[in-house]
């Protein structure tokens, strides 16, 4: 068994997923080589062979070009699996590669049991095991699903590839980055966070959440749909595309517990969830799950705490 691990790089930095790719290969028990369109100034800690293309000539966003480079490496190394992170880079590039290889692709792999990938279904309420009908497979790994017990060490032996690949398999043109908005509340410093999810139902009900946050002397936050609907500001969003928080108490009200939300709050010390759905995935990380309608429960709780 041999895996080709695809590392990621953006604006001078190696992105954080390399060790998760290595943890996957270790759990699978496979030998591995790595691929990176990046820079010699930001190399992964990896004691093996690294095929390195220069991002300044090959482009950071050039899926057609990166696919060509990968195909060249694959022709040489003949891996059984090509492994990406399930990230904006991975889910964009993996299907293009899978199509070129006529390979089955498994997305958002959360586990590997006796060589069989396990994938989430319906917001992780269910899991499925899958079998490919192709010899080579392409995988994307769910963020945080695979972890090394020890920090990786070693430095890679580099083989340089790719001079220029302008072809993007079409006519996509990368016009540059738009940076993150800064400012607003810093949720990372809050000791108590009360968070509103789509379960609040309508914008007026955000007050139910802000009042509880107030009596607990904390901040209020929100899940993505609440922010997308403009019921709360973006700087209140918790999750992979919001802030990563770790308060002493996190109260998730009307939040189902999608993986992208959990990634933003699972380091909280104590988690209370309020949800009408007893099976909501948030229950997996909650210390206490209160099965109730938040519109009835939260105001009563707020009143009682206020009167303490």
């Amino acid at each position: 068994m041999k895996t080709l691990l695809v590392a990621e790089y953006r604006e001078g930095k190696l992105l954080g997923c390399t060790s998760e790719l290595m943890a996957f290969a270790k759990k699978l028990g496979s030998e591995s080589v790595m691929f990176l369109v990046g820079s010699e100034n930001a190399l992964p800690k990896f004691a093996g062979k690294l095929y390195l293309a220069d991002a300044t000539t090959c482009g950071e966003y050039n899926p057609g070009g990166h696919k060509q480079l990968l195909l060249e490496v694959i022709a040489k190394e003949k891996p059984d699996m090509v492994v990406f992170s399930h990230s904006s880079y991975g889910w964009d590039l993996a299907p293009r590669l899978a199509f070129a290889l006529k390979a089955a692709q498994f997305s958002e792999v959360v586990d590997i049991v006796d060589g069989v990938p396990v994938l989430p279904v319906c917001n992780s309420k269910l899991l499925r095991k899958v079998t490919p009908k192709t010899a080579v497979t392409v995988l994307t790994l769910q963020a945080g699903a695979f972890n090394l017990t020890d920090e990786p060490t070693g430095s890679p032996s580099i083989e340089k590839i790719g001079t220029a690949h302008a072809d993007t398999g079409g006519n996509l043109v990368f016009e540059g980055y738009e940076l993150a908005e800064r400012g607003g509340v810093d949720l990372t410093k809050a000791q108590v966070i009360v968070s509103a999810g789509r379960g609040i139902g309508k914008p007026e009900n955000i007050e139910i959440i802000t009042r509880l946050a107030q009596v607990l002397k904390g901040e209020y936050a929100a899940s993505r749909p609440v922010v997308d609907a403009e019921w709360a500001d973006h700087n209140r969003q918790v999750g992979t595309t919001g802030q990563i928080v770790s308060p002493k108490l996190y109260m998730a009200c009307g939040i189902s517990g999608a993986i992208q939300h959990l990634a933003g709050m699972k380091k909280s010390e104590f988690v209370v969830a309020v949800n009408t759905d007893k099976d909501a995935p948030i229950g997996e990380v909650a210390d206490v799950l209160v099965v109730a309608d938040l519109k009835a429960f939260v105001p009563v709780l707020t009143e009682k705490i206020n009167n303490l």
């Binding site: 279904v121 499925r128 996509l172 189902s256 709780l301």
Partner: protein, 256 residues
């Protein structure tokens, strides 16, 4: 502009799921069905573009008879015509097989722009859109949270991690996969719901378009082992509040 938007019907994620008899998928009976959330943004963007450029907009969905209900929503939002590819076994098809069917339909129609969701909520594979583009040889921008069209060129913003966005342009024909928050999907109005009933609904048996085999197969579907050691509280809200306050006093310092 000749525009296509692909939508999927998915179960309500708050449903109580049951594993089917084969043990390879969830039982479709007794579930509430709705439009895949990501596809609502795709439909809205397609309708906005059509309104801007005065084009023609087709909505396509592969699935059993019940998907017609979801398609009616897309028609009420402003799509001109529905294409229902009837397939009672669509849930068994992998992204490659689904994409092949869409590409088979779309190939000869020469759409200027194809919209899909970035992923489906049940499978979450985030593959179908990109595969359709590869099959048709179209440029494809994924995970878009910004879209505009001018003079044959689309300008999109791709959402990356950490709040960063990548600005990308492409000339049509092209395909984009839509992310949450791209726009504000419109509410349905009664006149539009009534109008939708009169719109054309083309019905195509899947056998006419299905020319490939799936590349993968689900061998078993099951409930995750509950790892959570959390306490579950149920009952009267006043009691629940008292219980929770007691727990917070014992286990955290926030009420001190």
């Amino acid at each position: 502009m000749n525009i296509l938007v692909c939508i999927k019907q998915v179960p309500d994620m708050e449903s109580r799921f049951k594993v089917d008899e084969d043990g390879t998928w969830f039982d479709g009976a007794d579930l509430a069905w709705r439009m895949n959330e990501y596809d609502e943004y795709a439909v809205e963007q397609a309708v906005q573009l059509k309104e801007e450029t005065g084009g023609d907009l087709t909505v396509l969905c592969i699935g059993p008879e019940r998907v017609k209900e979801t398609m009616k929503k897309a028609l009420a939002m402003g799509c001109d015509r529905g294409v229902h590819v009837v397939d009672n076994e669509s849930f068994k098809k992998d992204p490659f097989a689904i994409a092949s069917i869409i590409a088979e339909f779309a190939g000869p129609k020469n759409f200027d722009l194809i919209f899909t969701g970035m992923q489906s909520q049940d499978r979450g594979s985030a593959q179908v859109g990109v595969l359709v583009a590869e099959m048709l040889g179209l440029p494809c921008a994924t995970t878009i949270v910004g879209f505009s069209f001018d003079n044959g060129v689309i300008s999109v913003k791709r959402e990356l991690e950490g709040g960063v966005k990548a600005k990308v342009t492409a000339s049509v024909p092209a395909l984009v996969t839509c992310q949450l928050g791209l726009n504000s999907p419109r509410y349905l109005t009664l006149p539009n719901i009534l109008k939708a009933k009169k719109k054309e609904m083309l019905v195509i048996p899947v056998a006419d378009l299905s020319k490939t085999q799936a590349l993968e197969e689900t061998t078993s579907l099951y409930f995750p082992e509950k790892k959570g050691t959390g306490l579950i509280l149920e009952g009267d809200v006043a009691d629940l509040a008292d219980q929770l306050i007691k727990i917070l006093k014992e286990k955290t310092a926030v009420l001190a």
